[in-house]
C-alpha cells in the first residue's frame, strides 16, 4: 500500500515545565487507510514517547479519543487521513482545561452528567418480583438515538455557550436527561425538569447546533435540548395552573 507523508502539528503542554501550550511538528509516514489516531500512535511508538493522549478501543465505542483535528472536535479513531490535507493540527478538546498534551480535565462535565439523574425513576412501585418492565419497540425507538452517546465530549468542545459559561449543563448531559425523560418506564420527568429547565439548564442553549454537527454518534443533542425546552415550557404552565410551587 502506498504511504502518504503527513505533517502533524501537535499541541504540547507539560504542567511541570511549560507556562503555556506550544506546537510540536512530527513527520509521519501514514498508510492511506489510517485514522488520525493511528498517526498519533505512530508518533508515540516511533518518534516521541513523551506524548500524552487518551484512547482505548480504536473503534468508536470508548469515547476517549476526542481531540480537535484542524479545529474541529473529532473522534480521532473515526477521522481518516484520506479526508485530511497533508498538514494536520491536533489540539486537546476546546473548552476544557489541559491536563497535559492532548489530555483534558473532564471533572466538570462528569459532575454534570450526574445532574441529569441518568437512571430510571419510579413513583409507582416496580412490577412484581419476577416481572420485567416491558417496553414496546415503538417506545424504545422514541429515545434510542439518545442512548448512543459515548461521552466523548466533542459536543462540549463545539458548544460556544459552554465555552462562555461553564455553569451551563451542556449538550451531552441534557441529551442524556432527555433519553430518560422519553423512556416509557421512567416517571422522573418533572423531577429532572425542575433542575434542567431552571437556570444553567436548557435555556442557556441558543441552538447554535454545533454540538449536533460534530457528534460522531449522531446523537443530536441540540434536538434533545429544544424538545426539553418545549417540555419545560409545558411543565411551567402545569406547575402554575396546579397552583403548585414556582
Amino acid at each position: 500500500m502506498s504511504k502518504r507523508q503527513i505533517e502533524l502539528e501537535v499541541m504540547r503542554y507539560d504542567p511541570e515545565k511549560d507556562e503555556a501550550p506550544w506546537f510540536q511538528n512530527y513527520e509521519v509516514p501514514c498508510e492511506e487507510d489510517w485514522a488520525i489516531l493511528d498517526a498519533i500512535n505512530y508518533v508515540k511508538e516511533n518518534i516521541d514517547t513523551t506524548l500524552s493522549y487518551r484512547w482505548s478501543c480504536h473503534m468508536m465505542v470508548c469515547g476517549s479519543c476526542g481531540m480537535m483535528v484542524n479545529g474541529e472536535p473529532s473522534l480521532t479513531c473515526k477521522t481518516f487521513i484520506r479526508d485530511l490535507p497533508d498538514k494536520v493540527r491536533i489540539e486537546p478538546l476546546e473548552n476544557f482545561p489541559i491536563e497535559r498534551d492532548l489530555v483534558v480535565v473532564l471533572d466538570n462535565v462528569m459532575e454534570k452528567l450526574q445532574t441529569a439523574q441518568p437512571y430510571i425513576i419510579r413513583k409507582d412501585p416496580p412490577p412484581s418480583d419476577d416481572k420485567e418492565y416491558t417496553q414496546s419497540r415503538a417506545a424504545l425507538y422514541k429515545f434510542k438515538q439518545y442512548t448512543m452517546c459515548i461521552n466523548c465530549m466533542c459536543c462540549y468542545a463545539a458548544c460556544p455557550q459552554y465555552g462562555l459559561d461553564q455553569s451551563f449543563i451542556g449538550p451531552a448531559a441534557l441529551a442524556l436527561a432527555h433519553r430518560y425523560n422519553l423512556d416509557s418506564r421512567d416517571q422522573g420527568k418533572a423531577q429532572r425538569l425542575d433542575i434542567l429547565a431552571d437556570h444553567d439548564g436548557v435555556w442557556d442553549c441558543s441552538f447554535v447546533g454545533a454540538c449536533s454537527e460534530v457528534c460522531p454518534k449522531s446523537v443530536d443533542p441540540a434536538a434533545a435540548i429544544q424538545q426539553m425546552k418545549i417540555e419545560g415550557a409545558k411543565e411551567f404552565w402545569k406547575q402554575k395552573l396546579s397552583g403548585g410551587k414556582s
Binding site: P15, Y141, A223, Q227
Partner: protein, 130 residues
C-alpha cells in the same frame, strides 16, 4: 507530579469569529434586528392609517432608492437566515414518530414550505397583488 491544568482563553466578545459555523449562527441571530425593524415599521403604518394623507405620506416615505435597496436586501437576508433556517430546525424541536419509525425530518420541512407558500399567496391575494 504536580497538577496545573492550563485553561485556554476564550474571547467573550469575538469568539464567533473562530469558525464558519459560529459566524453563520451570528448571522442568523442578527435577523432579530430585521424582525424588530419591520414590526415597528408596521406599527408606524398603523399609526398612519388615521387619515388618507398620512397613509400616503407613509407610502411615499418608502419610495426612494435607499429603501428599495434595503427592502431587497432584507428580503434575501431574512429568507436565508430566518425563514429557511427556522424551517430547517423545526423538525428537531418537534419530531414525529408514526408507529415504530421516526418520520423523516424532510417531510416536516417540506410541510413547512407548503404552508408557507399557501400563506404567502393568501397574503398577496389579500393585498391585491394578484
Amino acid at each position: 507530579m504536580s497538577r496545573q491544568p492550563y485553561i485556554r482563553p476564550m474571547s467573550k466578545t469575538t469568539w464567533y469569529m473562530r469558525n464558519g459555523r459560529y459566524k453563520v449562527y451570528m448571522l442568523r441571530e442578527m435577523t432579530c434586528l430585521l424582525v424588530g425593524f419591520y414590526s415597528f415599521l408596521v406599527i408606524f403604518g398603523l399609526a398612519a392609517l388615521s387619515s388618507a394623507e398620512r397613509w400616503n405620506a407613509f407610502l411615499a416615505s418608502q419610495q426612494n432608492a435607499a429603501m428599495i435597496a434595503f427592502h431587497g436586501f432584507a428580503l434575501i437576508y431574512f429568507l436565508i437566515y430566518q425563514t429557511f433556517a427556522w424551517f430547517e430546525l423545526a423538525p428537531k424541536a418537534m419530531p414525529l414518530q408514526i408507529g415504530e419509525k421516526k418520520l423523516s425530518d424532510s417531510y416536516i420541512v417540506i410541510a413547512h414550505y407548503i404552508v408557507w407558500a399557501v400563506l404567502s399567496a393568501f397574503i398577496f391575494w389579500l393585498a391585491g397583488v394578484f
